[in-house]
Structures are given as C-alpha cells and as structure tokens.
Amino acid sequence: MPRIGVFVCQCGNNIAATVDTKKVAEDMAKVPGVVYTCDYKFMCSSPGQEMLKQAIKEQRLDGIIVSACSPHMHEKTFRKASEAAGINPYRCEVTNIREQCSWVHHDQTKRVGTIKSNDLTRMTIERLKKNSPLTRIKIPVKKKALVIGGGIAGIQAALDIAEGGREVILVEKEPSIGGNMARLSETFPTMDCSQCILTPKMVEAELHENIKLYTYSEVEKVDGYIGNFTVQIRRKSKYVDEDRCTGCGECIEKCPFKTDSQFELGLTKRKVIYTPFPQSVPNVPVIDAPNCPKIQKDKCGACAIVCGPKCIDFKMEDKIVTEEFGAIVVATGYQLMPNERFDEYGYGRIKDVINGMQFERLASSSGPTGGEIRRPSDGKVPKSIVFIQCVGSRDEKKGVSYCSKVCCMYTAKHTMLYSHKVHGGQSYVFYMDIRSGGKRYEEFTRKAIEKDNAMYLRGRVSRVYEKDGKVMVQGADTLSGTQVEIEADMVVLATAIVSRDGADTLAQRLGIGYDKYKFYNEYHPKLKPVETVTAGIYLAGTCMGPMDIPESVAQGSAAASKVLALFSSDEMAREPITSVVNKVTCNACWDCVTACPYSAIERDTIKNRQGEVVRWVAKVNDGVCQGCGVCVAACRSKSIDLKGYTDEQVFAAINAF
C-alpha cells in the first residue's frame, strides 16, 4: 500500500474563500493509500515547504499531493522540496484547485468549490498511485559549436563562444569572412569607419586558438540533435593550398585575366585569382574556376609559375569534411532585392542609377574610387544625387510588405558622406516616413537635414529617365502637394533587404522554420528571440529579418551565451517526459516512426547470440523525443507509452472521476 500525503493549500484566502480546505483534507484522509493530510495557509512558503519535508520524513511518505495553484506555478517548487526530502520528484503531483476551482467558482457557501476540489484531488491521488519514479534524462553534450556565416553576427558569436573557452568552427561561403559589413564605408550613427571596427574582429577570429575558419565552404548535411550534431561541410576547392600560401599576392599580380568583382558589386573588375578585398581573412587567394583559362582549357597557368611556395594546384577538388557539434549558430545574413524588378527607376538601364550598397563602395576609402564619389557612367563627381527610399520595401505589389529598417538611417548617412566629400553638392531624399528609432538615431537624421542640407521630400518617385547626360527624376512632394522634377547626376536606390538565396534549403537541412520571405523564425518573437524550435540551434543577425549592426552584434552575443550555457555542463538534463517502447509487443509497423513530429523514433533490431536479426522494433531517441505522445495514440498494440503520462496514470484518473 502506498503512503501518500495530501497537502491542501489555502493560498491565504485565494483558495480558502470558496473551498473548505480543512474538509478537503479530512475527506482525502479517507482515500485508501493516503496516510497523511493537512491544510495550510501557504504551501509554497518556506515554512510550508518545510512542513512538507518534515511530513515526508516523519510519515515515511512515498507520494505527495499538493492541492494548490496551477502546476504551471509551483509544480517545480514542490517537486524540488519532495526531492530534498528524499522522494522522487515525479512522485509529487499538484492538483489545481485555485486557477481551475476556487477562482472560477464564486460560491461563498464553499460547497461547489469543496466538492470539485475533492474530485480533482482524488483523481490526482489515483493518478499518483501509478506514478513511477523517473530520473531526468542526461544527454552528453559535445562542447564544440558550429557558426554558419562569417558576417559580423557570426564573427561576434564565434568570438564570444571562443572566449568562453569552447571550440568553434566558423563556416563562410565566400573566400573571406566579413560579410556585408566589410562593404560598408562609415557606420551610423557614430560615423566610425566600418572596416576600422570590423577588420580587427576578423583578424582576432582568425588568430583565436579556439576558432577554426572554414572559408569558401558550405553546410551540406546536418544530422543528430542538441548536444550531438553531425554536420557535413563542403570545402570548395580554392585551388590554393591554404596552409602553405603566404598571401604574398604575386599570383594576383601576374594573373592576366579580369572579371567583374562581386565584392565591388560590378563597380570594378578583379583578377581571376583573387581575394575579395585587400583585408580579406584569411589572406589566401582563390581561383575563380569558371573564368580561369587554365582550369577551363589548360591555357596560361601564370599564377602557378610565379607562386614561390608552389601552393597552386589546378587539380584540387572539393573536400567534404564531417564534424561533430553540440550546438549550431545560424548567421547567414541577407542580400539585396534585385533592382531590375523596378524598371521605372531604370536600374541596369541607366548607368548612374545604383543601389545603396554600391554607394557604400563609392564612399569607402578602400573602394573602386578610393572614397571619392564619382558616378559610374563617366567618372564625373555628381553635383546632385537623388536618394530614393523604400525601393521594394513596403511595396506589396512588386516587392515585400515589410520595412527594411536600416535604409532610413544609411540614406541619412549617405547624404552626410556626400556633403562631406562633395562640397556644394545637393542631395535629395524621397521618403515615406523617416524611421529613426534608436539611440542617437533621430538626432542623426536631423543633422543630415539641418547641418548637411539634405533636402528631404516626402513622397515617392514615379520614374527615372535619362535626358542629355542627366538623370531625370520625376517624383512628388506630398507635403506641398506638388509634382517634383529633379535633374540629377546620380540616383541611389535604398533597395529592400531580403533573405539569402537558398535560405530555405539550409533551413530544411537544419530543420528550422522560416516565414514566407524565407527569413528564419525565432522560437518566440519576444521571449526566445535567438532560439529556434529545434533545440541546440540558435539564430543571429539578418537571417531572421532586417536589422542593423548593433542588433546583429547583440544577437551574436546572445546566441553565444545560449551556446555557452548549454556547454556549461558535460551533460544536459531534460524532463524525463519521453516515450518508451515495449520491445516485446512492438509490431514494427512503423506507424509511430511516421507519426513522430521530431523523427525521434528509429528502426532498431533485436539480435540473437549469433548476431542474426531476430526481429525489428521501434526505439525512441530520448535526446530528440519531446514527449508529445502522438506515437502513443498511434500505436494500436499499445506498445509505446509516455513517461509521466502513461495510460495507467490517465486511466486511474478517469476511473477516479
């Protein structure tokens, strides 16, 4: 016979007002198996818990019922207390007689409340009789993290994790880390040069003994679960031996072939063997195979000839490396929407219509013009520039419905850079709203208008066309209610930020969710901003949606702290609410395997001594199982049960009803 103790809480007057807790205690004493009952003012208070512990010891109780508030409130508290007093925490159950009884039944005679409390408590008692002691699941944690994406968010996450003393592999698909931030000139609102603050971090990441850089690499396959991921990474062939290359640059010097530079967004050319930009990390060139005559038709080979350490290998092939990780941080960043969608702005047709990122390059001292603002068509310094905001953003018809968030700020920055670099130059900004929420942001945009004479026009542009070497902009200023025509020398489009091509494929490989714009979904938009539905996989930066550098960095750190917390112990404890298979009766029909939302159930075999397969049975992976119980209901032979919610427990409760 079990020895169960029932503790009825008055919760001050919260319960006692409509429930006769004393009577409940007395009635429950009559229930077989109950050896001790009492009611008390505040069970959750420390004296209350003390009382509970004492009773456990004195009465040698093996099961605890606390009839009090919702288990969502204090189940943990009472289970801890029970554990402290030496009984298994899962032998302690909480009956909800507050939220679902005393608070919703206002019968002052206490009749209704008392009857219901009795029933609920009795049901819980019967349930408890069937509770078997459970122990928390311990999952070993591989203390090594994978960071996907070498932009500022990824670098920040990698550095923080590495600083926390854990190994990190940082995977970047370009030949150098740095991401989009490496393209930027200055950064708002402080106006410090992007590269000056980014490059040191890039170098730090390269030199950190806990960080391994896999540049020019992509994630191919992801298996496993939190603490135990197995990831296949494709290391694309650079045709240059990373370990031996000294980064002298001779090969680039001598390479006779040129092609458009992706890093410079087509504003200039680069060699066929190249590093994306001078401060590339690692400073190892790669050969752009499709454009290399040597690789394509075995002509040239100049680079190999001049290479001192002889580290160029035209036969080099992609390598697939398999690594194991305990956690993954996804920081794959963003790209700009193709402007060609907006024909009325003439992008692609009119040379001097460029996008914001291209302007960043023009303004950047390391850019194609050495930081002088010169227009692409004829290299002249533009006397006037029109900036058009919300190109694709907030445009349900041709673009995306959301706001790209950073354009207002960087456009203000552009106007400043322009006025500083080109004296007497006039900038015009067509905007719908100036969204400058953020520390010192509003002051920043005001400065652009008041100090740097940016002419802000509230309205959109209808069309942009060429007329005798000028770029004609036909827009409107809704504040004065007039049409506006501007003879500009250059037009800059604040193009929408969109998710990267292939973001969905990666999400499917990782098993994380994404929205209709293929931005990744956080677990909870407010309370779990960097977690995903897949435990052990975290998000950082613009792969979740438009955000600026401070936010991305903050998220990188947030994700890192999650990872470090996970890595803080060798094992990860989980609630033992998982399914378990009865191997004897399993029919191996695999219905559970099909039904499981987490693919937590595997096909397993039972072998005889000779090692021959005797039969197939389902097997639950405790690490992956989340305890939803879908499999239990799906199993006809009742060969799966859910710990903590076993059929027996549920039936006992129903029978006590």
Binding site: D343, R463, K467, D468
Partner: protein
C-alpha cells in the same frame, strides 16, 4: 493562316490607313485578316467603375460573335485591344458578371477567346525573323520613335503584351524592318486621349511632351498603334512648334504603314496621304523610295 480580325469603328473611317496597310502586310506575310462577319463598336473605353456591367455588353457582344469564328481574335487599335482583352478577362474570371452579361447579350460566352494585338501576331505567330526575311524596302537609317501610349500596355495584369515599364516589342519590329528605333522616355506616357474633346491645352502639352521627348533623342519619325494618339500628336504639332522653341515636328504614322512600306507594298496604297505631316520627304532623302 487565317486570323479573325476586329477592325473597330475608327479603322473603318479616319484611320483607314491603319486598316488597309495592315491587311496588305498580312497578305505579304502569308496570313489573312478575316474581318468578323458582324461586329459593333467596343465602347472605346473600359468602364473603371465596378458596377457598370452595361458598359461591358458591347465588347462582350463582339467577343461572343468572334468566338463563333475561331479561338483567337486580333485587332489593331490599342483602345479596342485594351477594351476587348480586359472585358474578356472579366467574363473569364468573374462568374457573376459573366452570367449578367450573357443575359444581356443573350449568348453563352465563357471568355475562352485569345485576344491578340497585331503586334503579338507578328511576334508570336509569324515571328519577327520571318518578317525580317520578307522585308523588301529596309528602312535603312530612319530613326524611329516607337510610341506605345497607355492602352497597349496598361494595366499589365490584364494586358501583359510586354513589360509595362520598358516594353520592346515595338522596337523589335522596327529593327526587323531595318529601321533604327530610338529609346525615348515618354514612349509609354499619355497623349491626352479623349480630352481632345474639351481640353486642348492638356492634349497639346501631353502630346508635346511625347513628341519633344522623341525628337529630343533624334527621332525623325514617330509610329503608333492608336488612331487617337496619332490624331492628338499630329493635331498638336503646330501649337507645340509655336510653344517650344527648337522643336521640329516629325511625321506620325501607323506602324502598319511603315510595315507595309518595308514589305514593299505600293506606297500609294498605304494611306500616307491621310497624315497631316508628310512623310514623303523623309523617305525620299533616306532613299527608301
């Protein structure tokens, strides 16, 4: 190849040139424009008010008639094209209105007709390559401004003949004819349309913009698909010349006329005589005739 053809009211009268030259060209290219045995005016404007189903009855009548003569229908006038194609879409997509309309016109038409502009026929059915082969009088060195206007392009969702912001179908044809199309910004802007009735000032300004924009980039000739555009442009030319110093008016003709010209049709048959600004000098000094 025989394609059912809807001329529309204007092409029967003031824009005869557009009609005859098109038929001639078709012949030269080996297909026949089979005029509908029976047709009525399309209404000349697609009613923008959602509750005006009556305004769709006329075009619906045309369409249901045409369906009996084939599964495609071609037309030349941009406005007819616009009205017919959009009405057809309504009948196809909107069950209620289909029912009402069929009630009006006592037919059972389902919108299964495929409406093609003559340009589309040339592009998709004949093929510009084949047109090129058929050219006998290449329009060497003629800088032509291809003027689309509104009705041929908008709204893109319903018409979709070509990119609404930067169409090329017209230029592609001109290239095939050996001419040199010039890219001018206002090629998709409005000529003033029906305001011709009571607001000449506006028409003069808009048509002026279009012509100036074309001549600004060196157009020696403007071609159009729409009788109203043609009318407005030509009619405004003198005033524009007064208002805008340095503006020189250029001939405004229908694309089918120079098509016929290039295909070697008898120049007299093309109806150039109808136009106010004479094209002959241009053709002569380019040694095309």
């Amino acid at each position: 190849m025989k394609i059912p053809y809807y001329p529309g009211c204007t092409l029967n009268t003031v824009a005869k040139g557009l009609d005859t030259s098109a038929r001639g060209a078709a012949e030269a290219l080996g297909f026949e424009m089979a005029e509908l045995s029976q047709w009525n005016c399309c209404g000349a404007t697609f009613p923008l008010s959602t509750d005006n189903v009556m305004g769709l009855a006329a075009p619906a009548k045309v369409l249901s008639g045409a369906r009996k003569e084939g599964d495609t229908l071609t037309t030349l006038c941009s406005v007819c094209y616009n009205v017919l194609k959009r009405t057809n879409k309504v009948i196809k997509d909107n069950r209620e209105k289909r029912a009402v309309l069929n009630g009006f016109i006592e037919e059972d038409y389902d919108g299964s007709l495929n409406i093609l502009h003559y340009l589309e026929v040339l592009r998709d059915k004949v093929g510009f390559a084949k047109v090129k082969e058929a050219v006998k009088r290449p329009l060497k060195g003629v800088k032509v401004g291809a003027y689309y206007g509104c009705m041929l392009l908008r709204p893109f969702e319903d018409i979709g003949i070509d990119n609404a912001e930067r169409p090329t179908i017209f230029e592609d044809l001109l290239k095939a004819l050996g001419a040199t199309p010039v890219e001018f910004p206002d090629k998709i802007e409005c000529c003033g349309a029906h305001l011709a009735m009571n607001n000449e000032a506006v028409v003069t300004k808009l048509s002026g913009n279009v012509m100036a924009s074309a001549t600004g980039v060196g157009a020696e000739l403007i071609v159009t698909t729409c009788p109203l555009c043609q009318y407005n442009l030509e009619k405004s030319a003198p005033k524009v010349s007064q208002e805008r110093p340095g503006f020189g008016a250029v001939p405004v003709v229908y694309f089918t006329q120079i098509l016929g010209l290039a295909l070697g049709q008898d120049v007299a048959s093309l109806g150039f005589d109808k136009s106010v600004i004479d094209i002959m000098p241009l053709l002569k000094n380019k040694e095309i005739i």
